[in-house]
């Protein structure tokens, strides 16, 4: 038995038992569980290769060719092998641009090979993963500036290393992981500007014990030791800005009470990851504020059920837990959704995966609290810093709107076009919520986030027009009823 690869929209069926969006750890694991039941399962992945971002290019990388990626990366290979051995259908390069619950089932609209189709499923599992939290600083839109996740993707998928002086800035384990991979591959990082405030060790300290018995501790300490021996590390960095006119040529920042300037040809930014929940949000799933992770995430129960009964959300898309948690999350959602379709009671496997998931979460609270991005990087004060990169809306414009009493992010859209460009708020939503909360002294949960609507990815109108339409929809547009 092997997975059925679908590359053309015409080859999709109209109905499936389970549709999964995303082929990272959660999506692959969920599909593997669903297919075990013999359910008609389909996986849509926007990427042309499975693995998600954490296991990017896992289907063609080998430890011999790219040994520098580190041991944890290769866990993805066994997930991929188990997934391709199933009877599921797998559609790479497929953009699901609409999801709606209808009569206890779900309707998806998906663009594949230049054509859109409507697919129905009894249950949908969203495994859309995480995105990097935006890190708006002066100069972050300049060529030569990129996220650290992006630099790591360039390494995993294309064997690209930074050329010339490279600086990493921000907070979180990825700074040290990426630096160690670059060093192992024979590259050079000139400096790490760690923006973690020193006082955050205090807020994280009460949660140190579970962290000390988690697998993170040795890996984390090892990475930090290895990297700090080879790279200059500046700690408690504030007032970071990227210099340059038409491209980045350096950074200026404050560390240890001094202002420092360094030349840099590449500047890589990162301050943690947040759920990529645009599809869940557009489907009307309730979103809730996670104050420890400082982000909105879809509200789910222990098995990943969202507030829409036919929609499950697994992995980082429902709250950040990392690759291993995502894998167990995917298995749990896959089993739970599959059992629901079959009308069966919860199984022992479901409880076992629940325990494994709890174990994999050990130490997460410590990491969340230690690497919480500093307020000045979540809600910047510098008025000229761009927040919405698409529509080029600045901190100053948003703060002025906040002072004039804007009701929330959705009204801000109509005032400033903030969040209305092609990325549909993916790069600014988190910052907008934090700036409004800061300026209006309201809790983020009350400020809220953008209400998104399909299509969540740009689709040519010709593809939408070519979809089958209901008689009511035709009447709404043309004013006449079709004869046949």
């Amino acid at each position: 038995m092997t997975v059925q690869m679908i590359r053309n929209a015409e080859d999709l069926a109209e109905r499936y038992d389970i549709a999964i969006v995303g082929a990272g750890p959660a999506g692959m694991a969920a599909a593997t569980e669903c297919a075990k039941f013999g359910l008609r399962t389909i996986v849509f992945d926007e990427n042309s290769e499975a693995g998600g971002q954490i296991y990017r290019a896992i289907t063609r990388n080998t430890p011999a060719a790219r040994p520098y990626l580190g041991r944890d990366y290769w866990r993805g290979a066994s997930l991929w092998e188990a997934f391709v051995a199933t009877t599921a259908s797998y559609v790479p390069a497929a953009a699901v641009w609409s999801l709606e619950q209808q009569d206890e089932e779900a309707e998806l609209r998906v663009s594949v090979s230049g054509r859109s189709m409507i697919v129905h499923a009894k249950r949908v599992i969203l495994a859309t993963g995480a995105t990097e939290r935006p890190m708006p600083v002066r100069g972050w839109t300049l060529p030569g500036v990129m996220s650290i996740g992006a630099a790591q993707i360039a390494l995993k998928s294309a064997g690209l290393l930074p050329e010339g002086r490279a600086v990493l800035a921000g907070s979180g384990p990825l700074l040290y992981l990426y630096a160690s991979q670059v060093l192992a591959a024979g590259g050079v990082i000139d400096a790490i500007l760690d923006t973690t405030p020193r006082r955050y060790w205090l807020q994280a300290a009460p949660h140190l014990l579970p962290f000390l018995i988690s697998p993170y501790v040795w890996k984390g300490l090892g990475l930090i030791l290895k990297v700090t021996r080879a790279v200059r590390v500046f700690r408690s960095v504030t007032a970071l800005e990227i210099n340059g006119k038409d491209r980045a040529d350096g950074v200026t920042f404050t560390a240890g009470g001094k202002t420092v300037s360094l030349p840099a040809k590449s500047v890589f930014l990162h301050q943690g990851v947040i759920p990529h929940a645009n599809l869940a949000n557009a489907a009307g799933c309730e979103m809730g504020w996670n104050d420890r992770q400082k982000c909105f995430a879809p509200v789910v129960d222990r098995q990943g059920r969202s507030t829409k009964a036919s929609i499950f959300i697994a992995g980082d898309g429902n709250g950040i837990g990392g690759a291993l948690v995502a894998e167990f999350d995917g298995r749990i959602a896959g089993l739970a959704a599959g059992l629901e379709v079959l009308g069966k009671e919860p199984s022992e496997d479901l409880r076992r995966y629940g325990r494994l998931r709890q174990k994999a979460l050990r130490g997460r609270t410590f990491i969340d609290l230690l690497y919480q991005p500093a307020p000045s990087f979540r809600a910047p004060a510098e008025e000229d810093v761009i927040v919405c990169r698409c529509e080029e809306v600045s901190v100053g414009a948003i703060r002025a709107a906040a002072d004039s009493g804007v009701a929330g992010p959705n009204q801000l859209k109509t005032m400033l076009r903030c969040g209305m460009g092609p990325c549909q708020g993916r790069m600014c939503a988190a910052t907008v919520t934090e700036i409004l909360a800061d300026a209006q002294q309201r809790p983020p949960t009350e400020v809220g986030t953008y209400r998104l609507r399909p299509p969540i990815k740009p689709v040519p109108l010709s593809e939408i027009a070519a979809l089958p339409h209901t008689p009511d929809a035709v009447y709404a547009v043309t004013g006449t009823h079709s004869e046949h």
Partner: protein, 100 residues
């Protein structure tokens, strides 16, 4: 801002703004452009500022380029193909009169 550390395996040729570059067959268009030393791929829609790929995972829409005549394609989501014609964009997409 990047250099490739791998010897060429299976290479394809693509045209970027009239210049021919080589890329690994498994690369995305964005990775091919970065690997060839190109950083800025477009001018922004509002301020006309130079912009470059930022996230490489389909999120930021900074890497929008024209590929084989189709505007606003996400370069990081499209694998290279031999003979592909890629051009950088200036500002918003334009209407194609009589086109698709």
């Amino acid at each position: 801002m990047f250099r490739s550390i791998e010897s060429p395996k299976s290479r394809v040729r693509v045209i970027v703004d009239g210049r021919e570059i080589e890329a690994d067959v498994a690369a995305s268009v964005a990775a091919a452009l970065l690997g060839a030393g190109m950083t800025a791929v477009r001018r922004s829609v509002v301020g006309g500022e130079p912009r470059a790929p930022y996230c490489l995972m389909g999120i930021c829409f900074e890497c929008l380029v024209t590929i084989d005549g189709v505007q606003n394609r996400q370069a990081c989501m499209v694998p290279v193909r031999d003979g592909m014609v890629i051009s950088s964009q200036r500002g918003a997409r334009t209407m194609e009169v009589g086109g698709q």
